[in-house]
Symmetry: none
Subunit: 208 residues, 2 copies
DNA sequence: TAATTCATCCCCCTTCAGGGGGATTTACAA
DNA sequence: TTGTAAATCCCCCTGAAGGGGGATGAATTA
């Protein structure tokens, strides 16, 4: 893991002091400027003053809702990259965040490794969504499967896999090679964070 | 296959003359009394007159619906065992038949071997349901999984398989050997007529 | 008592899944 | 123009799934 330029300024907004501090400590080893705020007001103030490159934003901020803040920031400071860091894997929150075109979404119960990975990706211009939060959100939403997760071909393969077809059959049906299908499968599993057909099926079928 | 006492009287009710004749021919080698009827009215008449032990009943009978007939017979002649023989694997039909506590259900596209097996079982007091018609009906209905399909242990294994656990894990969880779990899996697949984990999961998850 | 069912276990075999590395071409975007 | 992403393909490997044969003891039922 190679983290980008440590001239990067990061702002952490989370009312859980302990958590906030812990994350700050974690990031200070890689970034020399790590600011912390604990409520919505000081968040806005700090943004104006420091112009961070990246904001780690908790959804459950006192006074101002995290989503509202994000919405405001999106308009006023479109260059600030935002990663939503929250406890809850609530569909509507994720959807709001996605609607705001937020760069990343990480769940608090994920390993810190994942946050670092998210930061790395987002700073390099990519997006990052916690593999645990596909449910009810990402997969069958075309816009997202397109940009964030599965490509067209991967989705085709995913559907056929779920139907119980074996790689060889899928290859024939799609007019591509067996190895191609295996590659797709590999990528699908990677992107969706599953590692067996059973998990894939259960994941997909949990989306209504 | 040893078919029970050939003093047994069998009545076949099916408006498809050809099919009816074929079945009759098939059964006449094992049963000396095989009657045939081709519509609901003559069915009722024949039942009164001959008092068959076993009725092979088509659902799509002209004039009177097979289910209605079965319902009527259940009340008036509870001793006549009924095997529904039909083309369609329609959930509501199967459910109606089961609600009437019908002894057996065989699909027309199954091998004749299966019909003989069904007759044998039903005449010996057991029930028989075509392995192809589990969908939407049988599996998580305890009464049926108990008597007709999976044993207690098999159901346990099935659940764990569906959760995506591998045989070895299941063995440890259940405190039995790996080979035991493989046997259960084999039997589950056999009984449910599936031949892959994907099919199993999709089958089970189609039951609401 | 004899027959059947259930739960348990065993061996064999083949195929495929799953995961680790790649590469190439095309096309589009920075 | 240079790079990135998508689509395609390749090789290797391990282990497990899937399916074919069994067997055995205990319990239940005919």
């Amino acid at each position: 893991m190679t983290l980008p330029a440590n001239s990067t300024q990061i702002l952490i907004a989370d009312d859980h002091r302990l958590f906030n501090d812990a994350i700050a400590g974690l990031l200070r080893s890689s970034f020399h400027s790590v600011q912390q705020v604990f409520d919505g007001n000081s968040l806005l103030f700090s943004v104006q003053k420091n112009m961070p490159d990246l904001l780690l934003l908790d959804i459950n901020l006192p006074k101002l809702n995290g989503i509202e803040i994000a919405s405001k920031l999106r308009k006023d400071y479109p260059d600030i990259k935002i990663i939503v860091v929250t406890m809850y894997n609530q569909a509507h929150v994720v959807e709001s965040a996605i609607a705001l075109n937020i760069e990343g979404y990480v769940l608090k119960d994920s390993p810190s490794q994942l946050l670092l990975e998210a930061i790395e990706k987002v700073l390099s211009g990519q997006k990052f969504f916690d593999p645990k939060l596909h449910k009810k959100v990402i997969i069958n939403d075309d816009a997202f499967t397109n940009q964030l997760l599965l490509t067209k071909r991967e989705r085709e393969v995913a559907e056929k896999l779920i139907a119980g077809k074996k790689a060889e059959t899928i290859a024939q049906e799609m007019g591509v090679g067996y190895e191609t299908v295996k590659s797709y499968r590999k990528n699908i599993y990677l992107k969706l964070g599953v590692n067996s057909l059973a998990e894939l099926i259960n994941l997909m079928r949990d989306l209504e």
